[in-house]
Every structure is written in structure tokens, then in C-alpha cells.
């Protein structure tokens, strides 16, 4: 199920800013161990963010995204206490969902 994400959401002037830090190795499949064996690709392929059940951002990731991916985006609306939910899925089919309440 992967490790928990850190999600911070805050609303200001009617716009909610969401910062997400996912925990994932994001292996490219191109890196070699010291003995020359290739480390298999293992990375997040899809991310979806929702606010009160409505999708506010969808992303597809490739191997070029850094380890422990960081994401910032903003959407109109949102109120203090409402929930923002983020879900990722990786190329092995593992998924993780976390949520955070919007702060002021």
C-alpha cells in the first residue's frame, strides 16, 4: 500500500492551494546496481486529486519524475475543514490514498 503522503491544503481568497509529498522510489528501470544488474522500473504512473468527491487534478507520471514526488496545484473554491483526497497508482498496480482537511 506504499507509505503515507504528506498533504497540506490551505484556502486563501477563494483559492485552495494543495501541496503533496508522495513517498515513492521512482526507479527509472535504467539504473544499475554495483554488480551491473538492472534495477527494474518502479514508479508512480497516475495521480488523482479530489475535493469533496470532485476531481480537481489528474496527472500521469513518467520515469523522469524525482524520487518522493512533490506536487503543488491550486483550484478555485474549497472551505476550511473540507477534505482533499489524493490517490496514486504505480506501474506495479499498487495504490495509496490519503486525505487532508483544508486549513485557513
Amino acid at each position: 500500500m506504499g507509505n503515507p503522503m504528506k498533504i497540506r491544503a490551505s484556502v486563501k481568497d477563494g483559492v485552495t492551494e494543495v501541496k503533496v509529498l508522495m513517498q515513492h522510489e521512482m526507479e527509472t528501470g535504467l539504473r544499475k546496481e554495483a554488480d551491473g544488474t538492472l534495477v527494474p522500473a518502479w514508479f508512480i504512473t497516475e495521480v488523482k486529486a479530489q475535493h469533496q468527491g470532485r476531481t480537481v487534478l489528474e496527472a500521469q507520471y513518467g520515469q523522469s519524475i524525482s524520487k518522493n514526488p512533490y506536487l503543488l496545484f491550486r483550484f478555485k473554491g474549497g472551505a476550511v475543514g473540507e477534505k482533499v483526497t489524493v490517490t496514486w497508482m504505480d506501474n506495479k498496480g499498487d495504490t495509496r490514498t490519503d486525505e487532508a482537511a483544508i486549513a485557513a
Binding site: T55, L57, I65, L71, L72, F75, T87, G93
Partner: protein
């Protein structure tokens, strides 16, 4: 609902054995309506050149645009973590894609913006060597691009 079923089948195909089955059941719990993912664009994400990637995304030669503000460091000491921010003042931004033109797989990420989500996104990318970071923005059905070079002093691949 169809998309949910597709995802279930996809996961069922991908996973196998006991642990895989557990993962499948876990995922099923998450599969409420509207939570299904869009299909990952394998062709675009395996593209080895900008032209190939743009073709896979179905994009003709996009125009350069000053309305896209692409924020990247001029010099990255550590190529494995290069912050990239794309902010655009264009109306009705539908999609932002980020490329690193010298990476083995040039497309780094593809973001889709529903109505009401602002045209700004920050992420971090790996860069194997000095290269151009390219932002491709789809706004109101038209594609625009902006590019900036990042000098990399230590690569992000193979560490």
C-alpha cells in the same frame, strides 16, 4: 462505471498470485464511482525524442508563448531533483505537459486540469545531463510551449 470495470480487469491482468490478489482486493475498496484513473499513455511516456512525444500526444508544432511562465533553476547541482513550476496566464488551461529533451524518456509528466483548477503546477524532475525543460500547455483547445535550459553539474541517473 465502465472505467471502473476496465481498471479492475487491468489490475487483475497485472497482478497474480496471493499477494497480487490481496492488492486487488485492497484496490477494489478504493474503487468508488469517479475514482478510476485515465489510461496511462505508454507511447508518449516511452518516447525517446520531443518529436516522437509530441506525435504520441497528438500535438502539431505548438507556438511559443510568453503567457507561460516556466520556472527552473539555471544551474542544477543535483540533477536528480530539479524543481519545475509551470504557471500560465492563458484562459481555460486544460493540460500541462513537462518534458526534459535529453532524458532517455523525454516526457516527465502530463497534468489534466478540470474546470476551476488554476493553470499552475509544481513538480520535481530528474535530469541526466544539461538539457531543455519544455512546458507544453493546452488552453482553449490550442497548444503552446515554453522552454528553458537547465545546466546540470551532476546527473540524476545512476547517481
Amino acid at each position: 462505471m465502465n472505467r471502473d470495470i476496465d481498471l479492475e480487469r487491468r489490475k487483475a491482468l497485472k497482478t497474480g498470485g496471493g499477494i497480487g490478489l490481496m492488492a486487488l482486493f485492497g484496490a477494489l475498496g478504493l474503487l468508488q464511482p469517479g475514482k478510476a484513473f485515465a489510461e496511462w499513455n505508454k507511447t508518449a511516456f516511452s518516447s525517446k525524442s520531443m518529436d516522437e512525444a509530441l506525435a504520441a500526444l497528438g500535438v502539431e508544432k505548438p507556438d511559443n508563448s510568453d503567457a507561460i511562465k516556466l520556472t527552473v533553476p539555471e544551474i542544477a547541482e543535483n540533477g536528480s531533483v530539479v524543481p519545475v513550476t509551470v504557471a500560465c496566464t492563458l484562459a481555460n488551461v486544460q493540460q500541462i505537459s513537462i518534458f526534459v529533451d535529453k532524458n532517455p524518456n523525454v516526457l516527465a509528466a502530463n497534468f489534466t486540469f478540470p474546470q476551476g483548477t488554476e493553470g499552475i503546477v509544481t513538480t520535481r524532475v530528474k535530469m541526466g545531463q544539461t538539457a531543455n525543460v519544455v512546458a507544453l500547455v493546452k488552453a482553449d483547445g490550442k497548444f503552446y510551449r515554453a522552454a528553458r535550459e537547465v545546466k546540470v553539474t551532476a546527473g540524476g541517473c545512476g547517481g
